[in-house]
Structures are given as C-alpha cells and as structure tokens.
C-alpha cells in the first residue's frame, strides 16, 4: 500500500483535511494504527468463566475474545481456517467449550487449536493438521488486562500494556478505586450509536473544552430556565438538571479544568475540577467509601475528577460517572460509538442509577446532548470535503505546556495540546512501515 506524505499532512499547529476524508488513509489507519495500538476490547466481568466469549472487531478484524481454562484471555481469529467462514456473527456472545464452524463442522478449542474436522481421512496427503499452526485460530494477537479492563493488540511486537497506558494508569486506577470493593463490573446495558463521520472527530471532541457551551446551549438554556421556574423540582429532575448545567460552565471554569497529553497519543481533561466535580455526593456511597478506604484516602479518590480520559485511539472513559466509550471505525466517514456502563462494587444502587441517568441524558441517540455533537461531526465531515481550505487548526495555547509528575505534559483546559499529542502519535503509528 502506497505511503502517505505524512509530513505534508501533519504540521505542528494544524493537520490536513485529508486525514479525515481520504479513504486510502482510513485503510492505512486500520492497518497501522488499529493493529499496532492496544485496543480496548471489554472487561473481565463480561467473560468471568472459562469458555465465556464474545465476538468483536479489532479495527476491521473480526475476533473472538475468549476466557481460557487457565483464566487467561485470548483474541482468536473469528474466521475458519478451512474455507474462511466467519465463525460467529459480530456481537455474538455466550459460554462454550469449543467453537464449531457452521459450514463444514471444523471444531476449535477455546485456545484456538483445531481439535477435529469431520471425515478427516479425506485430508490424507494434504497439509491440513489438527493443533495450532496453520490451521488454528490463534493469530498471535496479544491480550493484557489492567485492573479488569481488557486490551488487545494484533501486532505481535510492541510495548507492554502497562507501559503503553503510561500516566493515564492513574486515571484507570481512579475509575476502579471509586468502588468501595475495589472492583467494577459491566452493568446497565450498552448504547451503540452510529454516525456518518470519521472516528477521529469523536475522539478529539471528547477533549475539546471550547465546544460544550456552544454546541449544548440548546439543552443548557432550557435547563437553566426550568431550574429557575421550578424551585421545587423532584430529586430526580434536580439531579438531571444538575448534570446538564455544567455543559455551559464559564470559559474560565473549563480553562481551569486543565488537560494533559501523554505518550502514545493519550490525553485527558479535568483533574480536581471537572463537569462532574460539583455533583452531590451520595451519603450512603460516601459512608461505604470511608468504611473501605478510611476518610482521607476516600476523599483523595473522590477529589480526582478527570472527566474525559482518552486512551488513543480506541476509548474515552469517564471515571467520575463510571463509563467507557469505545470507538468502532466503520469507514472513513462512518463510526459507531459504544457506551459501556459499570457498577462500582460495594456502592449503593443509587450511584449506578445516577450514572445511567447521566448516560441516558447525554449519550443516548435520543438524548438531549449527543445528537448535537453528532451533527457537528457530520458537518465537519462535509465541511472538510470543501476545497476552500485544507487545514484544521490545532494551534491553541502554543507552548503552554509543562511536564507533570507522571510524565505527561499539562496545559490549560482549552488547549489543543491534547490534539497535537494525538496527531504526533498518529504519525508515529502511520510511519512505522
């Protein structure tokens, strides 16, 4: 595949519109970025028992994520080695002791080894063999977990997950530490939300603190008015309004939230201050936290409010409301975003209910917030097809960055530092031939 002219596409303070619109670059991204980076695939709690599996995609590659008998996890090729049939439809999940291809009945073990094939005598003299090797489903993909979160990488070589997570390890830690029992589990359903735009718009938008007060006015203005008109809102309504209003916080507030960029393109916004930091603290939850951690440590954990954290390129997670949004690129101009929700073990149901309510309001395709972001992405896609200008600017707060204690570089909340960081990593992935 022909190489792109990367130095013409990625400049220090801007990127060329083709990175969002060129189908050839999208194919290359699937080949280079999405096979070389660790991609989030799910959570331990989705496949607790040996033989538990689900079918998903790593970029464009269909895989089976399977809990092994030894407790490990493998990412097997979801593609029979006989004549090539996809073994399980995308999205399939269940518990099994083997995978049987429904075309001619080839049977694979949980580890991907070809265990048996009907009428085997007919392959006398042919290279077809049971076991691993040319006819097994193991394709050398790596799977590693960090505190229950599963990541996979198709490329055999590369950094360990822990190294790759870098400074954002502490944000994943905070995600899990917020559970009084020190563990989380998938709960409350999944949103799958499709839009006709390049996957990078979503990823970049999640760390863009200059857009909420503009894009989400249509929700925040009525919310503020209703708040003023109804002094006696029900608890649920008051909570909903309180989750919507911060979208129109002041520019200074968003600037103060801060942001940081990290190696491999990761980044996040918010730290002590964020759109979630003003939420009421549930008493029962606080009590369980104090009991689990002691008051000081509990306070410390809850004082961290990193609202949006990106592990580039595949997820944005929100530790304060316990959710992970997963990027599923479909085509250069089509993306599906999955939103997965988590229960903090040991926390009261009311906390889960609040976080799910947040997601219903904000992340639902029929919600009051998401559709306006999506409209923006789709108009970015059509705008960048225009020839009037070739450039997308990432020029904000030039030079305004400083190393932080964990090895990231921090800047003001509205900086494009995080976006420059993403594209530096993107270029690295794309260059490694």
């Amino acid at each position: 595949m022909r190489d792109p002219d990367l130095e013409e596409l990625i400049l220090p303070d801007r990127v060329h519109r083709r990175v969002y619109t060129d189908p050839h670059l999208f194919t290359l991204e699937m080949e280079r970025v999405f096979r070389r980076a660790w991609l989030y695939v799910g959570h331990d709690s989705q496949i607790p028992e040996p033989g538990d599996y689900f079918a998903t995609r790593l970029g464009s590659e269909p895989v089976l994520i399977v809990r092994q008998r030894d407790g490990g996890v493998r990412a097997l090729a979801n593609r029979c080695r006989h004549k090539g049939m996809q073994i399980a439809p995308d999205g399939a999940r269940g518990r099994t002791s083997s995978f049987r291809c429904g075309y001619h009945g080839w049977l694979y073990g949980l580890d991907g080894a070809l265990r048996a094939f009907p009428a085997a005598a007919g392959y006398k003299g042919a290279p077809v063999r049971a076991g691993h090797g040319d006819f097994g489903l193991d394709q050398g993909a790596r799977v590693e977990a960090y505190r229950g979160f599963l990541f996979a990488r198709l490329h055999k070589e590369g950094p360990s997950l822990a190294h790759w997570l870098g400074p954002l390890r502490s944000s994943l830690d905070n995600f899990v530490d917020r559970a009084p029992a020190g563990a989380v589990e998938v709960a409350g359903g999944v949103f799958r939300y499709r839009h006709k735009a390049n996957w990078k718009f979503f990823v970049e938008n999640t760390l863009d603190l200059l857009h909420p007060m503009v894009v989400h006015q249509s929700a925040t203005r009525p919310a503020a008015a209703l708040n003023a008109e109804h002094p006696d809102l029900s608890e649920a309504d008051a909570r909903a309004i309180a989750m919507l209003l911060p979208f129109e916080a002041s520019y200074d507030f968003f600037e103060d939230m801060g942001q940081r960029g990290a190696p491999f393109g990761h980044g996040e916004v918010g730290n002590r201050l964020s759109m979630h930091s003003g939420y009421d603290l549930d008493k029962e939850y606080w009590a369980s936290m104090v009991e689990a951690y002691g008051q000081d440590r509990a306070k410390e954990i809850l004082a961290v409010s990193r609202s949006n954290s990106v592990l580039y390129p595949s997820i944005m997670f929100k530790a304060p409301v316990s959710l992970v949004r997963v990027v599923k690129p479909v085509a250069v101009d089509e993306t599906v975003i999955e939103t997965w929700h988590f229960r903090l073990k040991g926390a009261p149901d009311a906390l889960l209910a609040r976080n799910l309510h947040y997601s219903t309001l904000v992340n639902s395709c029929a919600g009051l917030v998401g559709p306006d972001d999506h409209e923006a992405y789709q108009r970015l896609q059509s705008g960048l097809a225009a020839q009037a200008s070739d450039w997308v600017w990432l020029a904000r707060h030039p030079g305004k960055e400083a190393p932080d204690a964990e090895g990231a570089r921090a800047g003001p909340g509205s900086s494009d530092l995080v976006h420059r960081t993403m594209f530096a990593a993107w270029r690295d992935y794309m260059e490694a031939a």
Binding site: K196, R221, V336, A366, E375
Partner: protein, 158 residues
C-alpha cells in the same frame, strides 16, 4: 368495535396528529403530571433505573425536550425533521383495579430530515387514565424493534 376501543383509537390518532403537526406543547398537556415517556434501550427492559434507556422522561424533562426543539441553536434540529406516523394492530386491556387502560399498537414513525427518510418501528404501549371523558397518559412506552441496535440520532418524539 367497542366504545372503549373507539375512544382509545381516537385519542391515539389525536396524539399522533399533534406530534406530526409538531404541536409539542399540546402534546405535553396530554400527560399526567407524573406521567412518563419511556424508550427502553433493550428488548423487554423492565428496569428504568438499573439499565440505560434511550429516553426516560418526567414532565420536566419532556418540557426540556420540547423547549430544546424550539431552540434555534440546536444544531441537529436545524434540519427541521418532519414526521408522519402510522398506527395499527391495537390491543387493549383494562385493569379495573387502578382504573387504567393499557393500549398496545404497532407504530411506524416516518421521519424526514436532511433529504432522507428514516423509519422507526415499535410496539408502543400507552397506560391511559380516563380524564374528563378523554384520557391522560400515565406512561408511554416505545419498544423500538432495534432499540439495542447501532442507531443514529433519533431527533423526533416517537
């Protein structure tokens, strides 16, 4: 057709007409003060609190939705979506104990926005309370055929 069936049929046609004509404020008035508008996110979903929903809205949130609809800044609504809705296969059960009527129908909402048609198919269930010779809505629950699919924006009231 029984008197009740006729009355429900007429009430639902009236609700549909209000929504198609975007008389959304009048639509709000059809609900009980504590009425709910619910679009589950999973087939057969029973719990609106332990599971996300596509929408789960009280009077205040429905009002917010309608005011957002009227807000010129709403990027996604600048497309001015329109609807025509079709309702059939009505099944009605009366639950005398709480004096409500449960009506379930097949609903197709055709949405037109950005030069494209979208079709939303659901079995929709209304829990209705007789009020002043008509009805008020205690619960409108829209079970979309693809509620757990990879949907794109649902811009309109279903």
């Amino acid at each position: 057709m029984s008197t009740l069936e006729s009355a429900v049929t007429r009430f639902l046609a009236h609700e549909a007409d209000l929504l198609d004509r975007q008389a959304l404020e009048e639509w709000l008035a059809l609900f009980d003060p504590d009425g709910l508008y619910w679009i589950p996110a999973a087939p057969g979903q029973t719990d609106p609190h332990g599971h996300v929903s596509l929408a789960y809205e009280s009077h205040i949130l429905r009002t917010l939705r309608v005011r957002r609809w009227r807000n010129a800044a709403a990027l996604s609504l600048q497309q001015a979506p329109r609807t025509v809705r079709h309702l059939s296969n009505l099944l009605i059960t009366e639950t005398p104990e709480d004096e409500t009527v449960r009506a379930t129908a097949s609903v197709l909402v055709a949405e037109y926005a950005r030069e494209a048609l979208q079709h939303y198919h659901s079995r929709t269930t209304w829990t209705l309370r007789p009020r002043d010779g008509r009805f008020s809505i205690a619960l409108k629950r829209v079970d979309l055929i693809n509620c757990d699919g990879a949907l794109s924006d649902i811009l309109v009231v279903l």
